[in-house]
Amino acid sequence: MKQIILITDGCSNVGINPVAAAAHANSEGLVVNVIGLVDDSEIGERGAEEIARIAQAGGGMSRLVSGRQLSRTIQMVTRKTVAHTIEQAVHQELKQLFGHACLEELPPGQRAEVVGFMEELGETTELRIALLIDCSASMKPKLSAVREAIRDLMLSLQARPGRSEISVLHFPGAGLPDADLELDVPWTTELAKLDHLFYKLNMKGTTPTGPAILKCVQYINEGAADSPAGAALFREGGRPGGTGNRSRSGWLGDYVV
């Protein structure tokens, strides 16, 4: 099961519409969840709406929280996404077995059995979560909360019986002038890999949320390779002038850690 959790504090301002990018991610089998961080700065009506729409298009959920609630929210969102995906699959089965897709309609005894099965599935299913972090200048004071929350998520995932990996990516990239995304931590199951996140960041003002989501989908589904679907989207909806000279390895070439 693959999820993207986007953590941002405002509106995208460069490149493809992030809602379209999230829809693309969802069509590629990923769920996109969005958490808006609202500490000191107001996220604004436009920002809040964008966050809700990205999540909706990405088949996930969105929450607006402060830094203190971040850890809890990330874990809740992760857990609910797994549960929801399994619920949907189980509902399909129920429909075939009983002609209705509603757990509520089952008598308590059968319900207990189905839920026990769902839970087992939820714990043992393989999980890959890409954390996509907005590192535009306004996020700077919030990054310690983000780092803490990522560590905490890993700690919870480590207790799962099923294999669980996370990776951390941030945008905009610091390397090339047009780098939309940078990989901080490739797929890992270890806490120690997360210790030096975001210490050496060169923060910029732009927020290329849409292009970052597309790149993230590529990373999750194909590693470093460009997906044809993603590339096509780039060409159609990419930002003016910026997409032509992208090198294939540019955004993955420069690890921050």
Partner: protein, 303 residues
């Protein structure tokens, strides 16, 4: 789903179970958890606590766990008395009914009846935890809100939403009591996980309020067991228990009965009012006094 979590049954509301048909009258709201609300209800003459969930799979998995706890532990046989749904308009909400415990949260109890109850409450809690552990469960979400102390100092655990088979990932936790949050270990349910939360709870019960408020502001890099150990040692009420609590925080206990044994020992040590040497002249004096009494009694008897 947000709508469902705002559902609040008013006092006097009558709940009729959809499958079993039992009728309960709502007397009031007892508390609100992460995944549901708990009401005080009356069925005939008996009082019960009724937990209503917002999310069916969530509550059902709690019910499943309670069922296996009831089968595996004599202490909890008969804990849950009914499982059913309530119809509210077009929706159906699941609920279960459990025994109602009347009592006070531990801190309120100690403030009301005095710190000498601290030992009894701590020991009672450890006994409860040890019983659960023996049946293969960890309580996990151990905190003030999930403990009640009844009139004679008996301790009851009340919210089993965190109950997890030992060895599985902790189902529900509260940051401040969580071993992982303090960089002190994994988030896998085991005896040590509960003992860690027990030590934090003791700290919360014993520390003065201003001392305690500062913990919440501790930065992640300062959150390690060393800080907790220092705070435990600095707390006067915890003095006799410091060795037990420090070991609990450091994850040094293999099992909760060991912690309970140490806890009880620390009390008998604490109860000794004076060091042995200082007690000697006092002993001699009282011995002399008793001799005098004996002599005078004997004198009266003879005459």
């Amino acid at each position: 789903m947000t709508m469902l979590s705002e559902v609040c049954l008013p006092e006097g509301f009558v709940i009729t179970g959809r499958w079993n048909g039992h009728v309960y009258r709502v007397l009031g709201l007892l508390g609100e958890g992460a995944n549901g609300k708990v009401y005080l209800v009356r069925q005939g003459r008996d009082l019960f606590a009724l937990k209503m969930g917002f999310d069916l799979p969530d509550l059902q998995s709690e019910i499943n766990i309670l069922k296996s706890l009831m089968q595996g532990s004599a202490e909890y046989r008969g804990f849950m008395t009914d499982v059913d749904d309530i119809r509210l308009g077009a929706r159906c909400l699941p609920f279960y009914v459990m025994r109602y415990v009347k009592g006070l949260p531990p801190l309120t109890f100690i403030r009301k009846y005095g710190p000498e109850w601290f030992h009894v409450i701590g020991g009672g809690l450890l006994r409860k935890l040890a019983n659960l552990h023996r049946s293969g469960w960890a309580f996990c979400d151990l905190k003030q809100e999930n403990v009640l102390v009844t009139g004679n100092g008996k301790v009851e655990l009340i919210d089993f939403g965190g109950l997890t088979p030992i060895g599985k990932p902790v189902r529900q936790f509260t940051e401040f009591s969580d071993r992982g949050y303090w960089n002190a270990g994994s988030r896998t349910a085991d005896e040590g996980y509960d003992l860690f939360a027990f030590a934090i709870l003791c700290l919360q019960l014993a520390a003065k309020k201003p001392d305690f408020a500062q913990f919440a502001g501790w930065l992640p890099q300062n959150r390690h067991t060393g800080e907790l150990v220092a705070t435990i040692r600095a707390c006067p009420l915890l003095q006799p228990y410091a060795p037990v609590l420090v070991r609990a925080v450091q994850g040094a206990y293999r099992s909760s009965p060991d912690a309970l044994t140490d806890w009880n020992r620390s009390f008998s040590g604490h109860a000794r009012p004076m060091p042995v040497r200082a007690a000697r002249p006092w002993l001699g004096l009282s011995f002399a006094a008793s001799l005098v009494f004996f002599a005078s009694a004997a004198y009266y008897c003879w005459h």
